[in-house]
């Protein structure tokens, strides 16, 4: 029972998954890993390291933290070679982000209601399509709720994902997002569906009325099922810089997040923001998106992530 998600992800079609993550983070890896060519540890090296971490969107505070930690290690263990620094940095990073590695467990509720939120263009609808596939692969039945009633063609987009996965999609023409999701939960109950994935419209945390609206969506979900939503996920675009942190804080304050999905990790230099999140608002990262394919959504594994970010081999 325990963390079966992780097991299945490791066992099933995932032989290349570590490779793919590494490939996705290749650029960062070269930037950081490339520094450890051997040689003395000096102030210039630390400065280069600082800049490399900053360039990976780690943010000033988390970078400072990692470097202080590294300096302590160097003192304590008497490291003298810059290559040894790499292992120490990887360890430091892995330890920092380890608390974020808490796979999502689907148990105890049927239907298990998952609500997704995020800023515009983060990849919510696409993530729902991928999640549907992911859960189906585990033999769960899934139902999608088209809660993005604002954006043009968001409904159609979700419907296409539903067709691809052969999953029912509950939509309403120009309806109220909360009402659509409420209906979807009723439908899921009637059809004995295992998991409801509720899409919502993208919104920026500065749009207070929209933040109020999404709070309402959550309240209405609780009306359909007092224990729900069982999971509130924030979808984060890995391209986002330090604003990712402020998104996590705002959405967490508004909704009480239970997890994050980090999408679009397949571009160049990025991923450092995970360290910043671990330090300031450690909401578990349930999944990471590493490609455009429907199978490219995977559970987050701290060791792998740290290694992919730091290792240069």
């Amino acid at each position: 029972m325990f963390s079966f998600l992780k097991k299945s992800a490791e066992a099933a079609p995932a032989p290349s998954w570590g490779e793919r993550l590494k490939a996705g983070l290749a650029r960062t890896r070269v930037q950081i890993g490339g520094l450890f060519g051997g040689g003395k540890i000096d102030a210039a090296l630390y400065e280069e390291l600082e800049e490399a971490l900053l360039c990976a969107d780690t943010g000033v505070a988390a970078t400072q933290f990692l470097l202080d930690n590294l300096r302590q290690q160097v003192k304590k263990k008497g490291l003298s070679d810059s290559r040894e620094l790499k292992a120490a940095l990887r360890e430091g990073l892995a330890t920092l982000i380890a608390p974020l590695e808490r796979p999502l467990l689907i148990e105890g509720h049927q239907p298990f209601i998952i609500m997704l939120a995020g800023v515009n263009g983060a990849g919510k609808t696409t993530s729902i399509g991928k999640l549907a596939k992911f859960f189906q692969a585990q033999g769960k039945s899934v139902l999608l709720a088209a809660g993005d009633t604002f954006r043009a063609a968001a409904r159609e987009q979700l419907t296409i994902w539903g067709e691809r996965n052969q999953v029912a999609v509950i939509t309403q023409q120009g309806g109220d997002p909360a009402a659509v999701i409420f209906d979807a939960i009723q439908a899921a109950r009637a059809r004995k569906i295992d998991i409801v994935l509720a899409d919502t419209a993208g919104r920026l945390p500065t749009q207070l009325h929209l933040m109020e609206e999404i709070r309402k969506v959550k309240r209405v979900i609780a009306k359909a099922d007092a224990s729900a939503p069982h999971e509130v996920l924030l979808v984060l675009d890995a391209n986002t810089g330090q604003n990712a942190l402020s998104q996590v804080k705002s959405f967490d304050d508004a909704l009480g997040l239970t997890g994050l999905i980090l999408t679009k990790l397949d571009g160049t230099a990025k991923g450092g923001v995970v360290a910043a999140i671990a330090r300031e608002r450690p909401v578990p990262i349930r999944f990471i998106g590493i490609g455009e394919g429907i199978d490219d959504l995977r559970p987050f594994i701290a060791q792998d992530f740290a290694a992919a970010l730091v290792d240069s081999d």
Binding site: C55, G59, T240, G241, Q242, N243, G267
Partner: protein
Amino acid sequence: MLDNLTNRLSRVIKTLRGEARLTESNVADALREVRMALLEADVALPVVRDFIAAVKQKAMGEEVIGSLTPGQALVGVVQRELSALMGGENAALNLAVTPPAVILMAGLQGSGKTTTSGKLAKFLAEQKKKPLLASCDVYRPAAIEQLRSIAAQLQIDFFESGSAQKPRDIALAALDYAKKHYHDVLIVDTAGRLAIDAAMMQEITELHAALGPAETLFVVDAMQGQDAVNVAKAFSDALPLTGVVLTKLDGDARGGAALSVRQVTGKPIKFAGVGEKLAALEAFHPERMAARILGMGDVLSLVEEARKSVDVAEAQKLAEKIKKGKGFDLEDFKQQIGQMRKMGGLSSMIDKLPAQLAQAAQAQSADMGEKQMRRIEGIINSMTPQERARPELMKAARKRRVAAGAGVQVQEVNRLLHQFEQMQKMMKQMQKGGMAKMMRGMKGMIPGMR
């Protein structure tokens, strides 16, 4: 918008308070703070380095030595360099070619290309152009449907395409259609693509060759991190970009990507997307933006926006009243709320105020959403003209009557009156002087000016 960067730079400049004069070492400290602020604002590291070097050189030069107010000089240098970095004047679209002029949109997934395409079409239609929208995004589910329904909302012509077609075929057919139907401008939306996806980058290069666009716009999310610099470079290497559109600038992102992209591509930022509504596209003004980052606000933009959304006479009347500070009554407050709603809500307006004022305003009205605004309008509507002009008349009995009329509790009427009072105070502050007030604000920070 960019509040955080503004705040940080304000603080940095404040740390110079009490210093008799700038020395090499305290400039270095201040510059390190500026560096950190810019990094935290997601300005890419190479860009930060250049910027700091330029500021340092200038600040250590004659300008400071010759100046009586070193702090002021540093602020000036930082602002000048920031403006220079973002590229002097505002650049308009250049569509002076044989029609149809083609605008090609390019960018990462989720940066806002499709929405921006719609906004641009609206912007051009308002200038009496006849735009045609076409989508070459055959990859993302319902992307074409999205543009089609945006076009329908805006009542702008849409060129039909299907996801089974090849992007290049769609583009050429759309161009042909635009020629035959005498469209002035053809806006071609494309799929989002990663800069490292060679096949997709090849595709858009071919699209560009086939279309020969007058404008090739790179759409960038204002929230983007350090990677902006790599992405911008890749796109600018693959395509002869002519400009940049910065989207989602209405968020609280620090917006450093604007600086990075501008620096790397060397191309002007032509537009800024500032909201979800299809009218929320603004011309990008580098000068004002630099001033805004430094906490001087963006009153000019505000005036322009007001001109667009409300009738000019009304706006002028209001502007005058704000200037005078006196006679700003509940009737104006109500009108203002109505206008604010038209202009995209309170938060988008607060963004444009100078930093200190914006903070005060935010504290006052952070919780004042759309709904709240409508309630306030209701309350004011329940007052007599006399009461609106002289809120001090509002005593218990009148309050009870108004509350009953508006269907609210008396407390809410009280709250409104209190809020109004605060607002009036703010207006008075502003009246004491746009520039004069700001100068005084700066005097506090800068030694040798009091």
